[in-house]
Symmetry: D2
Subunit: 345 residues, 4 copies
């Protein structure tokens, strides 16, 4: 039995971890921290967990935490993470960090998009936790930087094409749409029900912090430094990301040739489902699950390909992928706890 | 391994059965019928099932069906069910019928609210499949009439009070609100997105067919023939029923005395969760699960009690309860396949 | 030209007033206060007003306000209103107060449900601003207490029956459901999109502050002190209230007899639309308008009547009724600025 | 007083025309056709119109129609329109056709994307009814082809850049998202509430029929034949389109230079509202109105510009623009009937 802790358990990502861990037979949730709900049962904060999760939220310093578990999920904002993670690592703990703090290998890039980085010495050790690309390194590391939600959908959608040189690297345009749970549970006017329902808008146009994360992984895949266009949008729904990705094909391809590239690349990957040519993914068909559904269309008129990639932002885009990384790091079956069927309707 | 079949697999209830059966280790889905999608994979009709459910929809006559499974879920409209169920029973199969055809013990009442009943000889055998009330009879029968969604929420909400004579039986008023999935997947103008979203209305006021079903079970519990007021409403959401139930208390009660009645009545029932006095259930906290969450408030000013009861209409209100009944009928652990954590947010 | 001011312009009620006043040819918005958005254009806070409303939010003391308009809408929380309204009245201004502070004639009742009342001397003068009941008094007063959203829907739904002695006064049960805009624009976890969407719950069961307001007007109509049961619920939508009201009929009535009572009572009232017997109102058909749509059903089985009453909580339930009151107080056509067609779909 | 008729009054576009015409003082709705609801009041089909629109739906042949009005809105599917419009024109009537049948000047292009064109002789006369581009021609024609919803948002978003040669014409990528009302009121599984809510997907990827319409107008503006990439998506909401448009800048521009191009181009256009640099449009702020709100962002990193354009698909994207065209054709004030304030929240 592996003991795990959640640092920052009362946000949407934290509670989603608690939900998924209920399904993990080899794992026990032994500690959950929340400053705001200190002393309260997590199931009082999130009554969906009533009768299923007994844990009480605590407000602990890192040195009080370390003895309580073997592996920690740090589900706290960037900058907060880098203040906690080093001590957990030094205490010999495994860490899956869900913040942005250890995703970028290059501290300069981090500092350009975020702020000063105060734990740069751990960047080399951190593995970008996208199992479909970096499974072996994840198995060997003490620190996994769990990918951002948008990058997960985008990198999985592009990887087979990039690796095969099928697209012009400088031509990538990413138009992503996310459910509102991605904005977290902080009380803000902008994410009130009445502000979001029956409405749609872009935000942080050409300025979102997930951009360098995508560029890092895309550049690795095509072995060349590239920049991309990225526009995130806010959907009037709770869960789900759909990324629509445009790129120029490097030469003419048929839909079935491209389908072949994807099949070869993903083979038996459990959490990537390819749509048959002519059909496209929809966020409602991955809801609550760790799947990434991918479809595409070659457009002969323009010489471009359009790729559609759908995930549940709280699962494959956050907590589910974190559990998948935990499984790999702890030598458990990779799909353990992650076999729930998507909930539709 | 028990082989089961779903008759009418392509409606929302049918596909929800398919989803839940994925989680049942002792059960195998061996046949699924759908006239409309004959020859198509169920996972093509409902892509959430891709990679998880392999079954192909068939259009079969009852005599072709019987050899294919040990137990059948009949998820077809009333009147259609009574044409199929008798032959399944005669062939020695167990049946969980999700239609209304075998819920009412009195054929006259049935014919008043529905239409002519052509299989009255099976009414005596049919057990009303609310396990919390009729578990033992369910274990012994070949035919379970799976309760309606509204009645499930209402009867579970009222049973402890009725059995203890705590309320005036003639004073019961039920105001229920259901998500749109209760209306099924048939293409109808009234359930189009644009007709339902950002709107709310009552329908079939004082005329809904679930009324006699509630009256039958309520009358049994209070050992007296009673009529109730029942108003269903359509919510701009997909899943969930909340019933708000009003009744006059037979004598003054405190909130904690009433809470005691509920605790005594439900004891260790796995799928009934009682809210602490002062807190109330919400449909979003039972989503995707087989729970019925119940809360209440004694109103000293009026001498009435208000009971709130929340279920997922497709799970405890249909497919989940059907699986629970299957488990009891087949001597499997009652919670098998039904332990998924409610999905929130 | 009448100059009007909005005190508290940046809440949903305030901005709805600004929207409606755009349609009033005889009225000019000359001042709008907002502490939070001081110095900002109201149209920057609410971009729907861009190009239509030029006013800049100010943070003014009452003595700075009084010279700026002839009539004031006070769209501030209760307790805040009673600190402002007296000075406006003393300066000779007309006031439509949208808070609860002047709705209850009896200060004791107010203090039981709210808190201490510090402007009791104005209670006698305040007129409860439901024009369909109190039009003449509204025309003659300096201070109108604009009704609450729930009470508006409920009192209009019950008035014809109460005045005709058609129902048992002690039997009234009100089950109301409101869109989330009723909770206002303050940043709160409970009204975040993800907490509300695809969910439904009751709140303040048997304890909501609109209860005494309904009881006051109901008691006046039936000339007897009555208590009622009232349960509000939160709908996963933005605008609209539907109240489902139950009462025992004092004697048998047919649907058409009851329809006659409503027709006689409401006659040519512009903002009350009666549904034909057999059809019922829906909130989506009053959206954005000042209408109250009313339907009902006599239930012979139980001897009860069920009344359904639908309004847009921000219009007939708040800002629209306030404009209607302003029109009456200022001797303008009562429908001026209020003739917009409900927006559907 | 101008008498107008709506052919196809019971679809969402038809009833939106009826709503807007209520606000037109110089226009009278004298006839409304609907095969499905023949003999029924339009206000029974759409109860939002109760008390406001008295007209009864009729099922009329074209020769019975012509005497009933001076101008007709044909709100029927493509192919149906081309069977009706010629006879209306021959009878001397003005026509605003809301179908696709007369939008494309080149019959070959039409036949490639739609089907055979049987009224090609009227293509030369038809004016593409985007007033901001073709106001003078609209004033002079008998037949206006009312633009598609997607093209309206896209062409208005691109026009200032295209006319000024500011972007590379071959680089245009359009990613559009539409509310579900765009799919019309036909009962279809795909637009049921449960299929759409809490979900998001692309459809007709690189194959939508609005593509050639955009290409026609874009090519005119840049005086060169261009092809574009276009992906439409279905939003879980009722009204609104947001188009996110990507293009390579022909040379470096600052945000304020681009803003200048838009201001010069649109000048005093009433129905185009420009967002200040740094802010972006949202569909909820144009709801129910005829506005097109436009924002953009120059991305120095990639050399691209991202343009955001928001409309209400039923108003500026259909019925509102049709009324605007009617006003121009009939020499009425262009904004007549179209000054309603967007409804938010």
């Amino acid at each position: 039995m592996i003991n795990v802790g959640i640092v920052g358990a009362s946000g949407y990502t934290g509670v989603e971890l608690a939900r998924l861990l209920c399904n993990c037979p080899d794992v026990k949730l032994t500690v959950a921290t929340s400053r705001q709900y200190k002393g309260k049962k997590l199931a009082e904060v999130y009554p969906n967990l009533a009768g299923l999760v007994d844990i009480v939220c605590e407000d602990l310093k890192t040195d009080e935490l370390v003895g309580r578990a073997d592996l920690f999920f740090t589900a706290v904002p960037h900058q907060t993470a880098m203040a906690i993670v080093p001590d957990l690592l030094k205490a010999g703990k495994k860490v899956v960090d869900l913040s942005a703090d250890f995703r970028l290998h290059d501290a300069e890039v981090y500092e350009k998009w975020y702020q000063k980085h105060t734990a740069q010495e751990f960047l080399a050790e951190a593995v970008y936790g996208l199992p479909e690309l970096h499974r072996e390194k994840i198995a060997d590391t003490q620190l996994v930087a769990n990918p951002g939600c948008y990058p997960t959908s985008v990198i999985l959608g592009l990887a087979p094409l990039l690796q095969n040189g099928a697209i012009e690297n400088e031509s990538i345009i990413v138009d992503s749409k996310s459910g509102t749970s991605g904005a977290g549970r902080a009380a803000q006017t902008g994410t009130l029900f009445c502000e979001v329902t029956e409405g749609f808008k872009a935000y942080k146009v050409a300025a979102h912090r997930h951009t360098p994360e995508m560029e890092q992984e895309i550049s690795k895949l095509c072995q060349k430094q590239v920049v991309i266009s990225f526009t995130p949008h806010l959907l009037p729904m709770s869960r789900g990301i759909l990324s629509t990705i445009y790129a120029e094909l490097s030469k003419p391809f048929s839909d079935s040739e491209v389908h072949g590239l994807y099949k070869d690349f993903y083979g038996d990957e459990h959490f990537v489902r390819l749509c048959e040519p002519g059909s496209f993914p929809a966020t409602q068909f991955v809801r609550g699950s760790n799947y990434c559904d991918i479809g595409f269309k070659v457009d002969d008129r323009t010489g471009r390909i359009v790729i559609l990639s759908a995930i549940d932002n709280l699962v494959k885009g956050a907590a589910g992928q974190a559990v998948q990384n935990m499984n790999i790091m702890c030598n458990l079956p990779e799909t353990s706890g992650l076999l729930t069927v998507p909930l539709f309707p």
